[in-house]
């Protein structure tokens, strides 16, 4: 009986893990990638399943001589998700808070690494699936 219980828990874990990844993939493909429009999607997979109150951090490098479109795309359950862009010394150089959308077009004067901090508002103790969702950070590029 004990083993059966453990097996069921294990199967539930595996199923939830696979299911949320697949769901995140479908969501990103349908809802997020099309928003890059004339920018060429760079093919990077930057996705995370987050709960309310959780943060994710990305370290990406960007080339000079290109224009970029960054889109931080989150599921409805994570309404209010914002992001900040920091330089390598952790100085904030862009904050999406108070902006109309999570789409940001920019370029860099020199090739460099930038840090993207994604924040989902709310209490961090709500680990219910109702408060979980997918966040995708998409990058598109175009010749400047």
């Amino acid at each position: 009986m004990r083993n059966l219980f453990k097996t069921l828990i294990l199967l539930a874990f595996l199923f939830l893990g696979l299911n949320s990844n697949a769901q995140c993939k479908r969501f990103t493909k349908k809802q997020c990638i099309p928003e890059l429009k004339e920018y060429t999607f760079n093919g990077q997979l930057n996705t995370a399943i987050l709960s309310r109150g959780e943060d994710a951090e990305l370290m990406l490098s960007f080339y000079s001589g290109q224009k970029y479109r960054m889109y931080v795309c989150s599921e409805e359950t994570l309404e209010g998700t914002t992001f900040k862009i920091l330089d390598i010394d952790k100085n904030i150089i862009y904050n999406s808070e108070g902006k109309e959308s999570n789409v940001f077009d920019f370029k860099v004067p020199s090739t460099q690494q930038l840090i993207i901090q994604v924040s989902v508002p709310g209490q961090s103790n709500t680990h219910s699936l109702d408060f979980q969702g997918c966040v995708s950070v998409l990058i598109g590029f175009i010749e400047d």
Binding site: F62, K67, I85, D87, I88, N91, I93, Y94, F104, D105, F106, K107, V108, P109, S110, T111, Q112, L114
Partner: protein, 55 residues
């Protein structure tokens, strides 16, 4: 552990953030300097690693 890339000299100017008619420019102005010796060394190392992978 130090890599060839760590030996590339890097100088950074204060972060600039300017908005122009096109799109916003964000981030630092960074200048990289790589000596010919370093580059030649890198060419050789990359070719070695690549040979290991494909052969």
């Amino acid at each position: 552990m130090k890599s060839i890339f760590d030996e590339i000299k890097e100088s950074k100017e204060v972060a600039t953030s300017e908005e122009n008619a096109d799109v916003m420019m964000i981030g630092n102005k960074i200048t990289l300097e790589m000596s010919d010796e370093l580059l030649n060394n890198l060419i050789e190392k990359v070719a070695d690693i690549r040979t290991e992978i494909v052969d």
